[in-house]
């Protein structure tokens, strides 16, 4: 039968959806996703340049290419940028673009709140980085340990930029958290029960719960820090009885769930990519899902393994050590499920698949060294050495970033309608794998040989010279691989092969749409009968259900369908501007902060009275 004509409101016309203003005021989850992606990749370049500067400084002993203080700024900003401005927002790009498509929704639950999250993130990121131009970039480490961050030891404005910038990013993440949980729980297409949700959507859900429950704790930690610095309170001042360990507890209560906030999205992506390119359903999908939930849950009970050397006592050490080792079980379950998924599959070694396989192998190396740290006696030796740097770069570069690259190669055709070039992609993959191993594997040796982290230079003759040079060569290899990626990205965007709707023979709902998807996503709400709705549609059910054919076709369809679309709005950006003015204003004058707060209130009221 003829499909009905889709009638969109006037504000969704072609000319209304072009130009800068349409991007600034957009509330479309797909456009917001693209903006998250572009911003995250830009910050990726920035964080990468900082990494190169660090490695150049450390290439040989006794160098003074950058000074000690600026080196501290580089280390702090490299970590802050990569964690909060690269991996998190790049994950958010996929949440935004893909989650509504994968659950068959027209948009997220609160489209304008979604736009607000993006602008607040962007302003917060720019605010932290603007510190380079206003005196001093943060230099107390991304963990900001008290009382290194006190006025006494960090008199410059860097720590204020860092604390207030992170508050702003926290607001963005929290707003997105409420939004995405509501979206995932409430806006699933008919038939998509929780256990039929794609694993990527599940991991998004777990991540958002981690965000909304862990970010308030760093919010409090940062409030206390800012109060200490600006109003002279005593929270982290030992002379007045304040305890610097309070910071460590609050920070790692947030900081360890944050680790899973970074890695679970990549695990979700890999769980989508592997089945498609092995042409097999995900092995034991419920186990993968429940393992993800368990990781999120136990992730709240392991924070003190970052604090073994602070002397918490044998009982606390034992408890946190056990909990940390426990987390290896669900993680291992996932890895074996992924391996069982590709076992016996007819594998297509596309770039997306290679990155997913690279994720499994590199993440496993990082996971193995991670389990070692779970043992307090071993951790005492590793603490603050390059061994730890090696560990978390295997997890974050070898894990999170390879997983996200897999997602980019996998979903780029859906987002742009073009395929990314596979041969450039494979060069990108292999140079990444070689680069990251040459960079980070020698750091295990350096750590074992006693090289401490966060030192801006070192003496020769400790046996560190060769491995440092090696790591620097590796870092530049990684830079070249990133360059290859960006060339491929731009080249494919300009004249990539046409992708068609379903280039990979996908199983999930987003592949049923055109590439790029129409502004309103689905013409008719899809009906879902299994966890692989599109494979069912194409190949018949693998479940023995009989109701796999499109139920929608049985119904009487009207000649045309009017689709309600939320109008564009600039209020989210105005409120975001108020938020950054409020937080940043404290550095200038309390009156500026008050102006920011008023902007937030006025903007929120105007937003509320806007027609939806």
């Amino acid at each position: 039968m003829a499909s009905p004509a889709i009638v969109l409101p006037e504000h969704c016309s072609e000319e209304k959806l072009s130009g800068i203003w349409s991007w600034i005021t957009t509330v479309d989850h797909k456009r917001i996703g693209v903006m998250y992606g572009v911003s995250a990749l830009s910050f990726f370049v920035l964080g990468g340049v900082e990494a190169l500067a660090i490695r150049t400084q450390l290439a040989m002993p006794n160098q003074s290419i950058v000074g000690a203080h600026f080196y501290n700024s580089l280390v702090t900003m490299h970590a802050t940028t990569m964690i909060f401005l690269m991996v998190m927002p790049l994950s958010a790009a996929f949440f935004n673009y893909m989650v509504p498509l994968m659950i068959g929704a027209r948009d997220v639950a609160f489209p304008r709140l979604n736009a607000f999250s993006f602008w607040t993130f962007l302003f917060g990121g720019l605010f932290i980085n603007s510190s380079f131009f206003f005196g001093e970039a943060p230099a107390a480490g991304w963990f900001g340990y008290a009382n290194l961050t006190s006025i006494q030891y960090s008199p410059g404005p860097g720590v204020d930029f860092w604390a207030l910038g992170l508050q702003t990013l926290g607001v963005a993440s929290l707003a997105a958290g409420f939004n995405f949980i509501a979206t995932i729980l409430n806006m699933r297409a008919p038939g998509m029960s929780l256990m039929r949700m794609p694993v990527f959507v599940w991991m998004t859900l777990v991540v958002q719960f981690l965000v909304i429950l862990s970010f308030p704790m760093i919010t409090v930690a940062l409030i206390l820090l800012s109060f200490d610095r600006m109003f002279g309170t005593n929270f982290y001042v030992p002379e007045a009885g304040g305890d610097p360990l309070l910071w460590q507890h609050l920070f790692w209560l947030f900081g360890h769930p944050e680790v899973y906030i970074l890695i679970l999205p990549a695990m979700g992506i890999v769980s989508e990519v592997l089945p498609v390119f092995a042409r097999k359903p995900l092995f034991g999908a419920p186990f993968v899902i429940f393992s993800g939930i368990l990781i999120g849950f136990v992730g709240f009970g392991v924070w003190s393994h970052h604090m073994f050397t602070t002397g918490l006592g044998p009982v606390a050490d034992t408890a946190f050590s056990l909990a940390t080792m426990l987390i290896a079980i669900p993680t291992g379950v996932k890895i074996f499920n992924w391996l069982a998924t590709i076992w016996g599959g007819s594998i297509r070694f596309t770039t997306a698949m290679l990155f997913a396989l690279g994720f499994i192998s590199m993440f496993t190396i990082g996971g193995l060294s991670g389990v070692m740290h779970a043992s307090p006696p071993i951790d005492l030796h590793h603490q603050d050495s390059y061994f730890v740097v090696a560990h978390f770069h295997y997890v974050l570069y070898g894990g999170a970033i390879l997983g996200l690259f897999s997602g980019i190669y996998y979903w780029f055709p859906k987002i742009t309608g073009k395929l990314m070039d596979e041969s450039w992609g494979k060069v990108h993959f292999w140079s990444s794998i070689i680069g990251l191993n040459v960079t980070f594997f020698p750091m295990h040796f350096l750590g074992m040989q006693g090289m401490p982290r966060r030192v801006y230079t070192y003496e020769g003759g400790f046996g560190w010279d060769l491995w440092n040079l090696c790591a620097t060569v590796g870092a530049f290899t990684l830079a070249i691989s990133a360059l290859i990626f960006f060339i491929n990205l731009l080249k494919s965007l300009a004249n990539g092969e046409q992708a068609g709707n379903d280039p990979w023979d996908g199983a999930t709902l987003e592949w049923t749409l055109t590439s790029p998807p129409p502004v309103h996503n689905f013409d008719l709400m899809p009906k879902v009968t299994s966890e692989r709705p599109f494979w069912d549609q194409k190949y018949g059910s693998t479940h023995g259900h009989d109701d796999t054919t499109e139920v929608a076709e049985e119904e009487q369809l009207p000649a045309e369908i009017h689709i309600h679309m939320p109008p564009a709005s600039y209020w989210p950006m105005v409120v975001s501007f108020g938020v950054i003015t409020f937080f940043g204003g404290w550095m200038i004058h309390p009156a500026v902060a008050v102006c920011g707060a008023l902007t937030v209130i006025v903007g929120t009221v105007a937003w509320t009275f806007e027609p939806e």
Binding site: A105, R106, A109, F110, L174, G177, F178, N179, I181, A182, L185, N186, M187, R188, P190, M192, I212, L213, S214, F215, P216, M217, T219, V220, A221, I223, L224, F227, F231, G232, T233, N234, F235, A240, G241, G242, D243, L246, L250, L253, H520, N521, F522, L524, M525, K527, A552, E555, Q556, L557, P558, I561, H562, I563, H564, I601, V605, T608, F609
Partner: protein, 206 residues
């Protein structure tokens, strides 16, 4: 919106798969998040409780607290939860007069509570409890100050909801909007019960 094709699953108003409206669900999540915020602040207060005595750094809580005054303000806040319940019940019955009455009264009781807190802060400050002075000062003012900010924002919110009942804008004055404001109000109330117990009453135990 035309509704002449309601038999088709178009994307007009998809029913919430979880059975709870989006706004209410998101708000429950916000409250969960806010629990962690107050949990961290209360934990900070408790972990520093009594430390000033070790440092001989007064004034101490019992030098300042007047449990009678704070009991009255606590009673006032608890009563505001009653009026909030009545406001929600009134809009469920569609009784606009009572909705406005109870919303206004809730906001008034909230404002009175903030007034009590302003009095208490001024009084404590004049007695020598400074934000910068000792740990009790830092933790007390920040914890109760954050709660007071929550109440103040709640009063503003209630007044905004009240204002919408006078607008011509249909769809603003919904049962849901009043109910969600009520959720927030009860939450702030419950947090105060915890603070009142842990910060004030606990000082009077051995």
């Amino acid at each position: 919106m035309s509704s002449d094709h309601s038999n088709v699953s178009v994307h007009e108003h998809p029913p919430p798969s979880f059975g709870v409206p989006n706004l209410k669900l998101a708000f429950w999540l916000f409250l969960a998040s806010d629990c962690m915020l107050f949990g961290s602040l209360i934990a900070t207060y408790l972990s520093y409780r009594g430390k000033d005595q070790l440092f001989g750094n007064g004034p101490y809580p019992l030098d300042l607290f007047s449990v009678e005054v704070t009991t009255i303000s606590t009673f006032d806040l608890l009563m505001s939860s009653v009026t909030m319940v009545l406001a929600v019940a009134a809009i469920q019955r569609g009784n606009m007069f009572q909705t406005r009455l109870w919303l206004g009264l809730t906001a008034l009781l909230g404002a009175i509570f903030v007034g009590f807190q302003g009095y208490e802060f001024t009084h404590f400050y004049l007695e020598g409890l400074k934000l910068q002075g000792n740990l009790f000062g830092s933790t007390f003012y920040v914890l109760t100050g954050f709660h007071g900010t929550h109440v103040t924002l709640g009063v503003v919110w209630l007044l905004l909801v009240l204002a919408t009942t006078f607008t011509k804008h249909k769809g603003m004055v919904t049962h849901l909007n009043v109910e969600v404001a009520g959720l927030y109000w009860h939450f702030v109330d419950i947090v105060w019960i915890v603070i009142f117990t842990l910060v004030y009453l606990m000082e009077y135990t051995v």
